[in-house]
């Protein structure tokens, strides 16, 4: 629960500096929700796919 505040501010701050909010996704899945997990991954994949490959703040290793 405490963690939520951290993630809420982090996500907002990342978005503020220009890193798309959809790159950081916060959710919950309980132990009995296999299907929700699959839905989360489907949704997250779509969201992230829509943003294209990450480039911001990405360190390129020579």
């Amino acid at each position: 629960m405490v963690a939520r505040r951290k993630f809420a501010t982090l996500k907002s701050f990342l978005n503020y500096i220009g890193v798309e909010g959809d790159r950081t996704i916060f959710t919950w899945v309980s132990a009995s929700e296999g299907d929700r997990w699959a839905q989360v991954i489907k949704g997250a994949t779509e969201k992230i796919k829509a943003l294209g490959p990450a480039s911001k703040m990405v360190k390129t290793v020579a």
Binding site: D22, F26, V29, A31, G34, R36, L51, A54, K59
Partner: protein
């Protein structure tokens, strides 16, 4: 990036940092139930979402993850 977007073959790779007791178990259950989903995710198991240092998320982004999923 425009090029990449045009390239339909591109598949994002993102990291999921998940709680052992809830989401990880849920993901196991998805497996036991053979529920199919995209292959784009790489799971890092932690004992609890409370353990997730925000720094991990930033480091994941810096390491080139196309996204970071945190799930409790």
């Amino acid at each position: 990036m425009a090029e990449n977007l045009a390239n339909k073959e591109w598949e994002p790779k993102f990291v999921a940092i998940v709680c052992n007791w809830c989401t990880y178990a849920g993901a196991d259950l998805a497996g036991i139930s053979r529920i199919q989903y995209p292959t784009n995710v790489r799971i890092i198991r932690v004992p609890c979402t409370g353990r997730i240092n925000p720094f991990y998320i930033v480091k994941a982004l810096q390491s080139g993850a196309d996204g970071v999923l945190v799930s409790g």
